[in-house]
Amino acid sequence: MYIWLSNIFILSLKEVKSLLSDLILVALMVYFFTVAVVVAAKGASQEVRNAPVAVADHDVSALSLRLRDAVRPPHFKIPESVSDDAVQRHMDLGDYYFVLDIPPNYEKDYLDGRNPRIQILVDATAMTLAGTGTGYLSSVLADELGKSATDYGRTGQSPAEPAVLKAEPVINVMFNPNSSAIWQMGVVQIIGNLTLLTLMLSGAAVIREKERGTIEHLLVMPVSASEIAIAKVCANGSVIVLLALVSLWCIVHTWLGVPIEGNIGLLVSGMLIYVLSFASLGIFLAVLAPSMPQFGLLCIPVYMLVYLLAGATSPVESMPETMQKIIQISPTAQFVSFVQDVVHRGSGLEDVYRRLLIMLGQGLFFLILALSRFKSMLSRQ
């Protein structure tokens, strides 16, 4: 047992050395955990921000101009005027996601109490924006209409406020009061990068050794296949976890100002378990795909599926129910829930220990699968 551990340690050191000797690779890793995280977190937004709006104003009255002025940054870009025939073209190319079509004589009809309607055209291909954006836009416009109604002395038509029964909702968003996308994206980005790096590095390390024949050489020495595989998992895993932690703390927490609610020790151990289990999956894939080009092609769909379906970029709750069940097989789905619980909701060990155990089990499963095919991989010619 002692020898087993010491061999793993020796091989892990060697692995780290090889990893760090490829400078371009190191540069890519650093880019991935710094620039990429910041750009993605600050850039992408799930809230309504800078949404491009155009106005086809057929009225050109004081009221229509007022409504137009109400649409303002930061939620919306300053509306641009478009002519009727250009509306379709601009929306086709995604230049505007919202177009307000204000009918002729709008102000007059409005003051006469005929309840004219403004048409809002919404580009429904922008899924994350269309729904909430429409809500924002109509409430902004409704507010403005309400205000102008008072100004124009059209009190009768505004929502009446006699002393009636009414409850006052007080909405409180927990864990992320401003629904800031940076909070979520920063963390999600790190999870995604962690996943891709772990998968590719551990798998590629096996294939490189196989293609160069060094793995054969190791197996002649008093070293077992399990030691080689575990050393790869440990070495690549710990380098990646270290990078991820530095990135999480310095970039996401300190620079981007995302609070980390939960216990940092718990987070680190969860991250370690996840990386170990995912690295085992990487090694398993490498054992399946005999050459580097094949491995690369196998990795891409695996990574994209696992990442996109993990509930990191789109909510798990929106998936069909069977899919929600199936995706629990993926360690990434477990880890995303784990991180959301710990980082955002501040959960403790007693809430998340099940996920940790599941991830551990998955890792062992992949590792055993990989080891069982390790020798047969070498004897293939």
Partner: protein, 943 residues
């Protein structure tokens, strides 16, 4: 000569001098490979280049061939300055270079014929000329029966012959061979030189420069250059040199020229006779060892016994099963039948005791390229558990013994073949094993180092009683063994002491005895094969009967003149591109696994992701903490429970809200204060608390919207001033969802997934294109050919574009027919856009490939660099115009976001090509930019 007459472009050609090297120096980091070398080589000579490992032979040859960038000094070949790129391209037609290493210019997954066809295409041969030339070369080298065998499955000798054929395909005037016979068995070696001699007779004007580790081979050449430490020691006629030094053989002359410390063992070996102790168990026993790979039997019932302390030699042609037998003895391979016993024990999995006692050295270099010499040795020392105290001393000793001390901080990549072999040997002997299994340990190692090494082996065997099992192609080494075993085609032909073997076949030298046995064996096999399949090998007999080939090699160099095709213009460029494209396509077609991944990987990805990724509104769980419990509070809860978007989940109201979120995973928690009901009825407008889980902003924004909506309705019902209908009539907006009226994600997701696949897969495939050829060594074909870098890159790209287009069509078909996402716009607009996108992403892959140094970095770089713009900044998840800062620009600068517009446009928005004209131009110019950058990064020479 016909050829020279045709090649009238040669400027001021000096008839007598083919190559002239002037004050040439070359360094690799701190190591000097060449220092101030000047020499000249006359036309039509055969020149042998001799020297020990790492003296700069390979460097000199690759510089002359123009595949390496000159650092200092100058070289002119056929009167053209080799530093000039245009001159190099013209010279490529007259010079052939065969790099070091078995079959380094061959593609292992292509057949013999395909390899030859590719080289012929590279030099612009076509039609009848090409087929005739290929047939003749194959016939001359007797490769014809193996025309359809993969190059990777040829034996070493056959690989070398094929390599030579590939080098000769364009009838060169100067042939440069870098250690062509290293690692080749004596029979194949003899045949190889016969072949070269024949060729020379056919075209006496051809100059041949050969570097070799076998000095006896160099004796046959007219001229000899001896190098040491990057300088030239002798440069004169072979005869003259031997006369001048007063030596009977060139080897002797060579030894005398060298400084004393490099001379190795003089006066031969004194080997104490081996005495076997009858009572002692055998060190290695093999009985009936058999190994089959599929229907191919590599080793067939091999049995032998090796006594303790014996040196047992293993001889045989390349590919006869020596390495496989050795691998079975080390436990790397499981025998199909039979047993192998090491030190009296059968190998069991995980038997580390035996492993501790065995040292193994494999044929190919198998230490870590990225670790230095010392680091590699330390790794071995640690893994063999050499105690810390002895480690430093042991390694120091080994470094000294194998003269590696001055190189201890170098990485193996910068060392020559021979020195790398020495390092491997050092590693194998490091832990003082009881048994050494050495697979061709000395191939590529120079004579003095070999002698030193054998001296050490003999000492180990006789003094420390270490058992040594060694395979070799050197007959003088075989003579030093106590016993040798001759192997052929998986079977042992003979075992005995060298003397016994010589006696039994009646030959004077072991080499002749060996060759005679092999030839006899082959004849027998041929006879039986011809009998067995008299009619089967029609193609072979056909060729033999062909009158043109009757004369064997006669006239096959000069019979057909060089086809005088124009070497410039569009046609030429297209034919070059076609050559590379055809080769790449053949390789892909052979690689079924890769095709499967590209096509089905993409489909599986599309189906499961479109099923799983969704922003559709589904019901979310909410919890209630009701401190009031009045009918009014229950009515409020009912209002929420009645919503299609929410459902109630029972929660433990005594817990703190934070804990409820943590445990129950509700998205919304309604907190109704005490006295809510009564306060409401009094018209006091009581507050109701709503807590939303904000961990996922998309969800929390939606939930907030639900709460506002439901509360508005609830209040309206309470106040009952306007009926719901009337309120609706007063709603001042009419909202129209365009393109996706029922607001279903799948219509948006599926086009996006197609975009993702077309960004990622082509880039991933081409990313390995260049760097993998560098790894395998086949990039030298580009270096030595007249083709330019852009022929190479575009040719490489074409098959991947076609494969990706097929994948695109399948994905689109799947979207339309399986996932019911119709193409509302123009299919052809989408098709053309996909073509441009694939061109762009595959060019991007090539760009990455030209930039990085390792395959790992290549797949990694292409994935990392393209995944972020593809998933986050393309408009796939978040609309592009809502991105900010760097993200927005990254989105705009990569083609993904533009292609996303085309995908969404033609699938969902019903647009045609006329809407995308500007976007086509943008994506197209991005593709061109990537490709141009890649062309600029890839040099046609090595550093």
């Amino acid at each position: 000569m016909i050829m020279t007459a045709e090649r009238s472009f040669t400027e001021k050609e000096d008839i007598s001098c083919v190559v002239s090297v002037d004050h040439l120096s070359h360094r690799y980091g701190r190591v000097t490979a060449l220092s101030d070398v000047s020499l000249s080589i006359g036309r039509g000579l055969t020149v042998g280049l001799v020297g020990s490992d790492g003296v700069g032979k390979s460097t000199l040859l690759s510089l002359i061939a123009g595949t390496r960038i000159i650092q200092h000094g100058s070289i002119s070949v056929f009167g053209c300055d080799i530093a000039d790129g245009a001159a190099r391209d013209r010279l490529a037609l007259r010079v052939a270079f065969m790099p070091q290493g078995l079959g380094r210019n061959l593609y292992p997954t292509l057949s013999v014929r395909e390899n030859l066809a590719f080289h012929a295409d590279l030099f612009g041969l076509s039609g009848k000329d090409k087929t005739e030339r290929i047939l003749r070369l194959m016939d001359a080298t007797s490769l014809t029966p193996f025309a359809d065998r993969d190059a990777g499955r040829l034996s070493g000798g056959m690989k070398q012959k094929l390599s030579l054929c590939c080098a000769l395909i364009h009838r060169p005037d100067l042939l440069i061979l870098d250690e062509p016979t290293t690692g080749v068995d004596p029979l194949s070696r003899r045949r190889f030189w016969t072949l070269v001699d024949d060729l020379r007779r056919e075209s006496p004007g051809m100059t041949v420069i050969v570097s070799t580790a076998y000095i006896d081979e160099a004796e046959g050449f007219q001229h000899t250059i001896i190098m040491n430490d990057g300088t030239v020691l002798a440069d004169e006629g072979t005869r003259e040199l031997m006369d001048r030094m007063g030596a009977a053989t060139l080897e002797e002359a060579y030894m005398r020229l060298l400084p004393a410390d490099k001379r190795g063992k003089e006066g031969g070996f004194n080997i104490p006779p081996y005495r076997r102790d009858a009572n002692e168990a055998c060190a290695i026993t093999a009985s009936g060892l058999t190994k089959r790979f599929g229907d191919f039997t590599a080793v067939d019932g091999v049995s032998f016994e090796i006594g303790r302390g014996e040196i047992f030699g293993f001889l045989g042609s390349n590919g006869c099963g020596k390495s496989t037998t050795m691998k079975m003895l080390t436990g790397l391979l499981e025998p199909t039948a039979g047993t192998a016993r090491i030190l009296g024990r059968e190998f069991a999995a995980g038997d580390t005791d035996i492993k501790m006692k065995v040292g193994y050295m494999s044929q190919a270099f198998s230490l870590y390229e990225e670790l230095t010499v010392t680091e590699n040795l330390y790794l071995h020392a640690k893994l063999y558990h050499i105690p810390l105290k002895r480690r430093v001393e042991t390694i120091r000793k080994v470094l000294d013994r194998f003269s590696l001390y001055h190189l201890r901080h170098e990485k193996p990549a910068s060392l020559s073949l021979g020195i790398r072999q020495r390092l491997q040997l050092a590693a194998a002997c490091l832990h003082d094993p009881e048994i050494l299994i050495l697979d061709e340990p000395t191939s590529g190692v120079d004579p003095s180092a070999r002698d030193m090494f054998w001296d050490y082996l003999i000492k180990l065997s006789r003094e420390d009683r270490v058992t040594i099992f060694v395979s070799t192609h050197f007959m003088n080494e075989a003579e030093r063994c106590d016993r040798i075993s001759l192997m052929h085609r998986g079977r042992v032909l003979a075992v005995g002491t060298p003397e016994e073997l010589k006696r039994s076949s009646g030959d004077e030298s072991l080499e002749n005895s060996f060759i005679r046995r092999l030839e006899e064996q082959e004849e027998e096999e041929n006879k039986s094969r011809e009998q067995a399949s008299a009619g089967e090998d029609l193609s072979v007999t056909d060729l033999r009967d062909n009158p043109q080939n009757k004369g064997g090699t006669a006239g096959y160099i000069s019979s057909t003149g060089f086809s005088g095709k124009k070497r410039t213009g569009l046609f030429y460029a297209l034919s070059m591109i076609r050559a590379f494209a055809v080769r790449e396509a053949r390789e892909i077609l052979r690689d079924r696994i890769r095709m499967f991944f590209v096509i089905f990987g993409a489909l599986i990805f599309e189906i499961s992701a479109s099923y799983g990724i969704s922003f559709d509104m589904t019901a979310m769980p909410f919890g209630v903490i009701d401190h009031d419990g009045s009918p009014e509070s229950r009515a409020l809860v009912r209002e929420f429970g009645g919503s299609a978007y929410l459902y109630e989940k029972q929660v433990d109201a005594s817990m703190a809200p934070v804990n409820i979120f943590q445990k129950e995973h509700v998205k919304l928690l309604i907190d109704i204060p005490e006295g809510y009901g009564s306060s409401l009825l009094k018209g006091e407008k009581p507050e109701v608390g709503f807590m939303i889980d904000g961990a996922f902003p998309v969800v929390s924004n939606n939930v907030r919207g639900y709460v506002n909506g439901i509360m508005a309705k609830y209040n309206a019902r309470l106040s009952d001033i306007r009926g719901a209908e009337k309120a609706d009539a007063g709603y001042p907006f009419e909202i129209r969802f365009m393109y996706n009226e029922i607001f279903r994600s799948v219509y948006v997701m599926v086009p996006g997934l197609i975009m993702l696949a077309m960004v990622m897969f082509p880039a991933m495939m081409t990313a390995l294109g260049v760097v993998r050829e560098k790894d395998l060594g086949t990039i030298s074909n580009l270096y030595t050919s007249p083709a330019s870098v852009y022929h190479f890159l575009i040719g490489k790209q074409i098959p991947y574009i076609i494969l990706s287009m097929i994948s695109f069509l399948l994905m689109t078909g799947c979207a339309v027919f399986m996932l019911n996402v119709p193409i509302r716009g123009s299919f052809w607009a989408l098709f053309f856009g996909a073509f441009l996108m694939i061109a762009a992403s595959s060019s991007f892959g090539l760009l990455v490939s030209c930039f990085v140094r390792t395959q790992v970095a290549a797949i990694f770089g292409s994935a990392i660099l393209s995944i972020l713009p593809a998933i986050n900044f393309s408009g796939f998840l978040y609309p592009l115009s809502t991105l900010e800062g760097a993200a927005y620009h990254m989105g705009r600068l990569f083609p993904c976001s533009w292609f996303q517009i085309i995908c969404l446009g033609s699938f969902t928005k019903g647009l045609g090509a006329e809407s995308f004209l500007r976007i086509y131009v943008i994506i197209g110019s991005m593709a061109l930019t990537y490709l141009l950058l890649a062309c600029m990064l890839l040099r046609k020479q090595e550093k």
